[in-house]
C-alpha cells in the first residue's frame, strides 16, 4: 500500500462538521427520530423495530431505510445499540436465546422475520463482518473457501482458487498471505484476521454487507484499503457500517444514522449530519462534547 | 467419521437383537450358580470336564446359596441356570417357588462337608473352646452372669471372663458379614448349639421361636466381633499380623494356610480333615447341588458333569476335591447320592 494511495482517499472536510448551526437545534430530551429515515428506493426498510435482551429494552422503535447502493454509517456512543441493530438485519440475533425482536424489517419488500423466511439464504444475501475478528480455526484458504463451498457456488478446485484469490485481493490481504494459504487463519495478526473475515464475507457474494467496526483493529494503511474496498463494493452492494471514527463515517458513507441509548436520534445525508446536525445530542457527539 | 460411527452403532444394535435371538435358541455350555462355598469345588470339576472332554467348560457364578436358588427357580429354559450349588439344604419355600415357576423335577445331590473353623495365628498355643464359650463370647445378649434366667447385654471382655480356664486375652473375632453363608452356618451350628446349654433359652424355642432365633443368631455389635468382608484371605492375613485375634472362615482356607494359622479345638476336637469327615468336629455343614432334570438331556455335557462330580476321583476319599479342602462323605452316603444321580431321582418338597 503506497502513500499516494493514502492521500488519494477522500480527506473529507475534517473541520467542516464543527460549523453546526447552533441555536436552532432540537432539544436533547426529544427522543423521536428526526431527519430522513426513509428513502425512495430502499433495499432494506425497518419499521418500528424493538429489540429486547430478556427485559432490557435495547432498541426502541427504530424505523430506518437503507437505500440501494448506498453506504450507511451507524454512529453513536458505546452501548447505544448499533451492533444490536445491525445484527437484526441478517437475523444474527436469533443466535442469542434471550434476544427478542419485534417490528418488521423488509428486504426487497419481504419481511425477513416472516415465519417462512429461511435464514440460511438470507445470511448468504446479507453478509456480516463482526466487531471482533473471528476466523475459523482452519487454514486461510479454507476460511475464505468455506462460504462458497457450502452454498455450492464453486464446483472445481480452480474455481475455488480463483474466488479465494479474488476475495483476498479485494480485502487487501493477498500479498501478505499468498505464500501461506495453508497456514491457520488464527495465526494472523489482529488486523490481518479482520481482513480475512472481510474476504470470507465477500467470497459468498452477498448483496448487502453489514460491517461492525471493521477497522477498529487496523492500522491507517489497512483502514484505507478497507475504505477503498467499501467504495468499490458500493457500485454493486449495499453496505451498513458501524464505526466510532467520525472521519471514517464521513469518508465512506452517503448517509449517517446517529443512535443514542437505543433510540435512533437523527438520520440524514452524511454531509448534513456532520455539517449541520439538527439535534443537540448529535451535535454534542460529533463535536466530542459527550459525557 | 460421524457417519461411520452411526453405522457402527447400527451394526451393534443389529448384533444385539440378533445375538439375543441366537442365545434363545441354544446354549452349548452348562450354567451353574449358587453358593460361594461350593464354588471352589464345582469350578475344579468344571475345569476337569472342560479339559478332558469335548464339552465346553461349564460357567459357574458365585451368587450365594439364596441368590442361586432364586435364579435356579426362575424357570425352565436355556436362559435359566441348570444347576445351583448350596451350602445348606433347599428350603421348602424355595422348592415351592421352583414349582410355581415350572421347575418341578429337581435332583438333590450332597457332595461333601465343609468345616467352619475358628482359628488364630499358629505363633501361639491353640485354644480349647466349647460351643457354649463361643455363644457367650459372641452373642449380643447372654444369660445374666449371676445365674438368673434373664438376658443381659454381653458383658464379657476377655476369654477368661467367659470361661476361667481360658487365657485372659481380649475377645477379638474377625468373621464374615451377615450376607455370607459361612456366617449363617456358624451362628446355627456353633452359637445356637451353645445357647441350648441354657435351659431357659432352650425352652424359649417352643414358646417364642422368633425371640429364640434372635437370641441365638444375633452377634454382638460392640466391636468384639469385627466384620472382615467376604474375603477369607483377608482374615488370614489379619490373623497372621495379630496373634491375639481369632477368625471364622471355611476349612479350605485353613487347609491352604497351615503355615500361618491353626484351628481352635471346639468341644475337644480340632478341625482336621478326619475330624470333620467322621462328624466329630461339631461346626461342619453339608454341601449340596441341585439339578434341573428338564435340562439334563437338553444341555450338552450335563450327564458328563454329574458323572465327573460323583466319580471317586473327584469326591472320593483321595479325590481331587479333597485336595481343595472339601471333606468327603462316608462311603455309603457317596453310594446313595451317586445312585440318585444315575436314576435322576427327583426331590419332593414335602421331604424338606
Amino acid at each position: 500500500m503506497s502513500s499516494d494511495q493514502l492521500t488519494s482517499t477522500k480527506k473529507t472536510d475534517s473541520k467542516a462538521y464543527r460549523n453546526g448551526k447552533q441555536g436552532t437545534l432540537v432539544d436533547r430530551n426529544n427522543r423521536s427520530t428526526i431527519g430522513q429515515p426513509t428513502v425512495h428506493d430502499p433495499r432494506m426498510s425497518c419499521r418500528n423495530v424493538n429489540v429486547y435482551y430478556e427485559d432490557k429494552h435495547a432498541i426502541h422503535d427504530v424505523s430506518l431505510d437503507i437505500g440501494k447502493n448506498e453506504v450507511i454509517a451507524l454512529i453513536g456512543p458505546s452501548g447505544c445499540g448499533k451492533s444490536t441493530f445491525l445484527r437484526c438485519l441478517n437475523r444474527m440475533n436469533d443466535t442469542i436465546d434471550i434476544c427478542r425482536v419485534t417490528g418488521e424489517i423488509l428486504l426487497d419488500g419481504n419481511n425477513i422475520y416472516d415465519k417462512n423466511i429461511d435464514v440460511v439464504p438470507l445470511r448468504a444475501r446479507v453478509g456480516m463482518v463482526f466487531q471482533k475478528p473471528n476466523p475459523f480455526p482452519k487454514s486461510i484458504y479454507d476460511n475464505v473457501a468455506y462460504g462458497p463451498k457450502i452454498h455450492g457456488l464453486v464446483q472445481t478446485r480452480d474455481e475455488t482458487d480463483e474466488i479465494v484469490k479474488k476475495s483476498l485481493l479485494k480485502a487487501g490481504l493477498w500479498d501478505e498471505v499468498k505464500d501461506r494459504l495453508d497456514k491457520p487463519g488464527t495465526g494472523l495478526s489482529g488486523g490481518q484476521q479482520q481482513r480475512l473475515c472481510i474476504a470470507r464475507t465477500i467470497a459468498v457474494g452477498p448483496e448487502i454487507i453489514l460491517m461492525d467496526e471493521p477497522c477498529s483493529a487496523l492500522d491507517p494503511i489497512a483502514t484505507a484499503r478497507i475504505e477503498e474496498l467499501i467504495d468499490e463494493l458500493r457500485e454493486n452492494y449495499t453496505i451498513a457500517i458501524v464505526t466510532h471514527s467520525m472521519q471514517q463515517a464521513s469518508r465512506v458513507s452517503q448517509r449517517t444514522a446517529f443512535f443514542h441509548l437505543g433510540d435512533l436520534i437523527e438520520v440524514g445525508s452524511t454531509n448534513q449530519i456532520f455539517l449541520s446536525p439538527m439535534h443537540q445530542l448529535t451535535e454534542d457527539y460529533i463535536t466530542g462534547r459527550f459525557g | 467419521m460421524k457417519k461411520r460411527l452411526i453405522c457402527a452403532a447400527m451394526v451393534v444394535t443389529a448384533l444385539t437383537f440378533g445375538g439375543s435371538a441366537m442365545a434363545d435358541s441354544a446354549r452349548d455350555y452348562i450354567s451353574i450358580v449358587g453358593s460361594s462355598t461350593v464354588y471352589p469345588f464345582a469350578t475344579v470339576v468344571a475345569e476337569q470336564l472342560g479339559k478332558t472332554t469335548d464339552y465346553k467348560t461349564p460357567k459357574i457364578e458365585s451368587t450365594g446359596s439364596g441368590g442361586g436358588f432364586k435364579l435356579f427357580c426362575a424357570g425352565v429354559g436355556v436362559q435359566h441356570p441348570d444347576i445351583t450349588n448350596a451350602s445348606r439344604r433347599m428350603k421348602s419355600s424355595e422348592c415351592k417357588m421352583c414349582g410355581e415357576n415350572g421347575v418341578k423335577d429337581i435332583v438333590e445331590v450332597k457332595v461333601g462337608y465343609d468345616g467352619i473353623v475358628i482359628g488364630n495365628s499358629n505363633k501361639v498355643e491353640p485354644m480349647k473352646l466349647t460351643r457354649r464359650d463361643l455363644f457367650l463370647a459372641l452373642a449380643k445378649q447372654v444369660p445374666n452372669p449371676d445365674g438368673s434366667d434373664s438376658l443381659v447385654d454381653n458383658p464379657y471382655k476377655t476369654w477368661k471372663d467367659v470361661n476361667p480356664q481360658l487365657p485372659a486375652i481380649k475377645i477379638e473375632v474377625l468373621g464374615p458379614p451377615p450376607t455370607s453363608g459361612t456366617r449363617d452356618a456358624f451362628v446355627e451350628l456353633a452359637m445356637e448349639a451353645g445357647a441350648k446349654n441354657f435351659g431357659f433359652i432352650k425352652d424359649m424355642k417352643k414358646a417364642d421361636k422368633k425371640k429364640y432365633k434372635a437370641v441365638c443368631h444375633t452377634i454382638r455389635e460392640d466391636g468384639a466381633y469385627i466384620e472382615a468382608g467376604e474375603n477369607d484371605n483377608l482374615i488370614v492375613q489379619k490373623l497372621d499380623a495379630n496373634p491375639d485375634a481369632f477368625g471364622i472362615f471355611g476349612f479350605s482356607f485353613l487347609d491352604q494356610n497351615t503355615d500361618k494359622i491353626q484351628g481352635s479345638f471346639v468341644d475337644g476336637v480340632q478341625p482336621t480333615f478326619e475330624g470333620i469327615a467322621d462328624g466329630s468336629y461339631p461346626v461342619s455343614r453339608p454341601l449340596f447341588f441341585y439339578v434341573k432334570k428338564a435340562h439334563a438331556d437338553v444341555i450338552p455335557g450335563m450327564k458328563a458333569y454329574l458323572q465327573e462330580f460323583s466319580s471317586e476321583k473327584a469326591w472320593g476319599e483321595d479325590g481331587y476335591l479333597s485336595e481343595k479342602g472339601m471333606i468327603p462323605m462316608p462311603t455309603d452316603e457317596r453310594a446313595k447320592f451317586s445312585g440318585d444321580i444315575k436314576a435322576m431321582k427327583t426331590l419332593s418338597c414335602d421331604d424338606l
Binding site: 473471528n134 | 479339559k51 457364578e61 436362559q79 494356610n257 481331587y320
Partner: protein
C-alpha cells in the same frame, strides 16, 4: 480528580509501600508453591507405595516353576488308539516314578504325583496330538510344577518350619531338592498367564480370557456410548430449546453420573436379561450396562467441551450462511472433539475397572473357555482380580497382583491415549 490523587500521595512513598508489600507477596507465593509441591509429593508417594507393593507381589507371577521330566510315550501306558483320550496322567506318573524308584506306598506315590501340575498331562497331550509319531519315544519335557512346589521354589513356603505347618511334607521337599540338584527345576517365563483362561490351579490360570472379555465389553461400550453420548450432548447443547424439560433432563443426567454403579447392574438385569431375554454373562449385556453407566460421564464431558467452543466461531459460520447443522458439524464439533474424547476415555477407563454392575448380570463367574464373541460367556479383568483375590490357594495371591498390574497397564495406556489424542487434535490449530 486524577490530579488530586497523584499530588496527595508522595511518589516516593508510593514505591516504598509497593516495595514493602513485595516481600510479603513473594513469601505468599513461595508458601503456596511449597504446599503445591508437598501435595504432589504426597500423592506421588502414595502412588509409588501402591505400585511398588503391587509390583513386588505380582512380579513373581511372571515366572512359573517348571520341572524337567523325561517322558516316555509308551503306548502301553497311553492305552488305546485315541490320542485325545489317552492316559496322559499315567505317562506323567510313570516318569516321576522312574526318577524316584524307591517310592512304593500308595500314600507316598500320591504326594510324589502332586509335585507337578495337573496341567502337565494336558501339555504332553498337546505335544503328542501335534506329533503323533512320538509314540514309543522318550523325550525331555518341561512341565509346570504344582502351585505348592512353585511357592516353595519362590520362597513363599519356608523349608525349616515344622512339617505340620506347611503344605509340602518333608519327603516332598527332599524330592524337590534332589530335582533341583539335577538341574531339573527351573523358573521360566509364565507364558500361560498371558495366554490361558481362568483355572482353579494357580499354575494354569491366565488372564487372556478376562482380557478378551474386557475387550469385547469395551468395544460394545465404546461403540454405543460414544455416538449416543456425543449425539445427546450435541442435541442438548446446540439444538434443544432451553425450557423446563431440558432442565429436568440435565438434572437427571447429572444425577445419573452419581448413581452407584450397582444400580445400573440391577437395571441391566431387569431390562436386558429379564425383559429382552439376552444371554447371561455375555459381554454384550456387560457392554450395554456399562454404556448406561458411562453415558452420563460422556454427555457431561461433551457438553462442557461444546460449551467451551467460543460463540464467535458459531457466529462466524452462521454469518456466512451455514445452517445450524453445518455450523455444528464443520466448526463446533471438531473444536469440541478433544474434550469429548478425553471424557469418553475417562468414562471407558472407569468402565474397564467396574465389577459391581457386572455381578448382577452374571459376569462374575468361573469361565475357562476364551470368549470368541460378544454373546459367549466371559468375565472381565477386574472381576478376574476379584475372583482370584477370594481364592484360598496361595498361588493366586501373586497372580492377583500380576492381574492388577495388567489392568493398571491398560488404564495407563488408555489415559496416555487420551492425552495423545488431545495433543493431536489441539496441535492442528
Amino acid at each position: 480528580m486524577s490530579d488530586n490523587l497523584t499530588s496527595s500521595i508522595d511518589r516516593h512513598s508510593n514505591t516504598d509501600i509497593v516495595q514493602k508489600g513485595l516481600s510479603k507477596r513473594y513469601n505468599a507465593e513461595r508458601r503456596f508453591k511449597f504446599y503445591g509441591i508437598a501435595a504432589i509429593c504426597a500423592s506421588l508417594m502414595f502412588l509409588g507405595v501402591l505400585f511398588i507393593s503391587i509390583a513386588s507381589n505380582g512380579y513373581g507371577a511372571l515366572f512359573q516353576t517348571h520341572i524337567l521330566l523325561s517322558v516316555s510315550f509308551d503306548s502301553d501306558i497311553l492305552g488305546g488308539e485315541d490320542l485325545k483320550r489317552a492316559n496322559y496322567q499315567g505317562v506323567i506318573k510313570n516318569s516321576l516314578l522312574k526318577m524316584f524308584p524307591e517310592v512304593k506306598s500308595r500314600r507316598e506315590k500320591k504326594s510324589l504325583y502332586s509335585l507337578v501340575s495337573s496341567g502337565a498331562a494336558f501339555k504332553i497331550r498337546n505335544i503328542l496330538i501335534e506329533n503323533p509319531d512320538f509314540v514309543g519315544q522318550t523325550m525331555d519335557v518341561w512341565v509346570p510344577a504344582d502351585d505348592d512346589t512353585d511357592m516353595l521354589i519362590k520362597g513363599y513356603m519356608k523349608r525349616d518350619v515344622p512339617e505340620s505347618e506347611r503344605r509340602l511334607n518333608n519327603r516332598q521337599i527332599e524330592w524337590i531338592e534332589s530335582l533341583e540338584k539335577e538341574g531339573r527345576v527351573e523358573k521360566k517365563f509364565n507364558l500361560a498367564f498371558f495366554t490361558a483362561g481362568d483355572s482353579r490351579e494357580p499354575e494354569l490360570a491366565g488372564i487372556w480370557g478376562a482380557t478378551c472379555g474386557s475387550f469385547f465389553t469395551m468395544i460394545i461400550t465404546l461403540f454405543l456410548s460414544f455416538p449416543i453420548g456425543v449425539a445427546s450432548a450435541l442435541y442438548l447443547e446446540e439444538f434443544a430449546p432451553k425450557n423446563r424439560w431440558t432442565d429436568i433432563i440435565e438434572v437427571n443426567i447429572n444425577n445419573l453420573a452419581a448413581v452407584p454403579s450397582i444400580v445400573f447392574g440391577l437395571l441391566g438385569l431387569a431390562v436386558f436379561l429379564n425383559f429382552f431375554g439376552m444371554p447371561r454373562s455375555a459381554p454384550l449385556v456387560g457392554g450395554l450396562v456399562l454404556t448406561l453407566m458411562t453415558l452420563p460421564t460422556i454427555i457431561i464431558a461433551s457438553r462442557a467441551a461444546l460449551k467451551s467452543v467460543p460463540p464467535s466461531i458459531r457466529e462466524a459460520a452462521l454469518g456466512v450462511g451455514a445452517s445450524k447443522m453445518q455450523t455444528v458439524i464443520h466448526h463446533v464439533l471438531p473444536l469440541a472433539m478433544p474434550g469429548m474424547l478425553t471424557g469418553t476415555i475417562i468414562g471407558m477407563a472407569q468402565a474397564l475397572g467396574e465389577t459391581a454392575p457386572l455381578l448382577m448380570i452374571g459376569m462374575v463367574a468361573f469361565i475357562v473357555d476364551i470368549p470368541g464373541g460378544i454373546t459367549d460367556p466371559s468375565t472381565v479383568l477386574p472381576v478376574q482380580i476379584f475372583l482370584w483375590a477370594d481364592s484360598p490357594e496361595r498361588g493366586f495371591l501373586e497372580r492377583t497382583s500380576a492381574a492388577i498390574m495388567v489392568l493398571l497397564t491398560f488404564l495407563v495406556l488408555m489415559n496416555a491415549l487420551a492425552v495423545m489424542l488431545r495433543k493431536k487434535f489441539e496441535k492442528r490449530w
